[in-house]
Amino acid sequence: MAILGALNPMLTVGLDAASDSAWRLDAYVKRGGYAALKKILAEKTPPEQVTAEVKKSFLRGRGGAGFPTGLKWSFMPKAYAGDKYVVCNSDEGEPGTFKDRDLLLFNPHSVIEGMIIAGYAMGAGCGYNYIHGEVWAVYTRFEEALAEAAAAGLLGKNILGSGFDFQLFAHHGYGAYICGEETALLESIEGKKGQPRYKPPFPASFGLYGKPTTINNTETFAAVPFIINMGGDAYLETGKPNNGGTKLFSVSGHVNKPGNYEVPLGTPFSTLLEMAGGMRGGRQLKACIPGGSSAPVLPGTIMMDCTMDYDSIAKAGSMLGSGAVIVMDETTCMVKALERLSYFYYEESCGQCTPCREGTNWMYRIISRIEHAQGRPDDLDLLTSMTPNIMGRTICALGDAAAMPVQSFVKHFRDEFAYHIENKKCLVPPDVQRAGSGFFKATV
């Protein structure tokens, strides 16, 4: 299990990876699961009141953008007579992020309950959970959990005799980072290439099959039952103002205990780092990407002064994103790190928009030649001049996501890039880099 620690947790309470029963319906109900749904159905809570409670909680989208969830729900047309959809984005492929996998494996019913409540609040009768193709065990388990919920009368027609109908299905991806973009995800559910749509129209007016649709992240849905149970105000108080609740942080890279940690928003980064066992080998923190590979990198010294919430990380010049904290110590070559990230965006660009399709490839080639001792003196200026011509000039945010690492790596570690170009080698010797990864420790 990769949920390794928590401070005042909600989402991960009572989970047990070693047990084959802790994720099941019975255990979830024993933990207080489905109480929120039952309460709403029994009290016939007006749907707009459910949305109002979510608004009050200041729950912000856990997938990366941090958009207020209640506000998003309120965009769905109320009077619309036809089908409406609720879609869960579990296409977790942002390098550094692995929280939704664990939530779905160890607490799938929290996501199911959150989606049913969302359907009730927005008057949607059908939902899909789009699950990353690479995590097949998650897909099969979610299907099992759906079957349990349906057998217990929690899904389907006339849920618990309330007259409310809600169907929920799992859809798997098959290897495309871009499908984490919500309109690409909808195209993918429709059985097409995952290429993002122009917006507007936004999914709330033209979504899946052209019907009003709301897409939220897995962890966002999982938080909803807690908000209903404790009330929006109390949920907000567990975080900090404008940053309601707890959040799962996926900590990876050069730490002793990489894994998921649930902490209240506003927890100091230093506390999170300590929970993750501190730096591997007691080495120095060099840099950290606080919110998944698309978020700008921050030097270690800046990072150590941050608290883990949307506002603090934004103020420091990055993004909390999906809560994927990639930790890099002094053995990291920043050029090599950026080379790998820029290859990723080149590989995953869907090819629809020229600035992204051509720009990601061009950036990768420049960074790669710097890494491989072919760098040219004006390469850094070239890179910095390219990024504004990609950002904001594409249909979706992948262009921005590809440009932000380049911009921030060159900005904060310019000397290291310049050293590479001048001296045709890494500032960090290759054997030091190798030792840092720890792979050969077992044999050497």
Partner: protein, 157 residues
């Protein structure tokens, strides 16, 4: 072309979507066809398209867009190594090199006996367990240090 068993599985997928939206099942159907035949030939893609009542080119667009579909034959065991940054920081690039050496092949190559294909993959959403690799699109292998890689290879007959 598709076995009755595969058709049954595809029917179950079609039932998830509204009437007339059976194209939504194409991703699952292609995965099922690939599981049945080991890879996706043009004939297999066409069979899936025909079964779902969509243009073969539309099914081909899907098959060629998503990286887990194999449009060429692969070995009995396909190993996809994530070498993205978080995994790289924990030894994934070295893990890939170790595998190349052990199997005597590079990325996107298959051993002469048709047993192993090696691929470089992108983020699998399991960075905390790095180095990670995916076996035949289904089994996630975690914390793959030399000893674990040796053990895995010896298990695969």
């Amino acid at each position: 072309m598709l076995t009755t068993e595969s058709q049954k599985k595809i029917d179950r997928e079609i039932a998830k979507y509204p009437d007339g939206q059976q194209q939504s099942a194409v991703m699952a159907a292609l995965a099922i066809a690939q599981e049945e035949q080991g890879w996706l030939s043009s004939e297999a893609i066409e069979a899936v398209a025909n079964y779902l009542g969509m243009a073969p080119i539309a099914a081909y667009e899907v098959a060629s867009f998503y990286t887990m579909y194999d449009l060429k034959p692969v070995g009995k065991y396909k190993l996809t190594v994530c070498t993205n940054l978080p995994c790289m920081l924990s030894g994934a690039v070295d893990a890939g090199e170790y595998l190349k050496q052990k199997l005597g092949i590079g990325y996107d190559e298959t051993t002469a006996d048709g047993k192993f294909t090696l691929k470089q993959g992108e983020c699998m959403g399991a960075c905390g367990d790095a180095p990670v690799m995916l076996l035949n699109n289904r089994r996630m292998c975690s914390s793959m240090l030399p000893e674990q890689i040796d053990k895995l290879l010896s298990e695969l007959e």
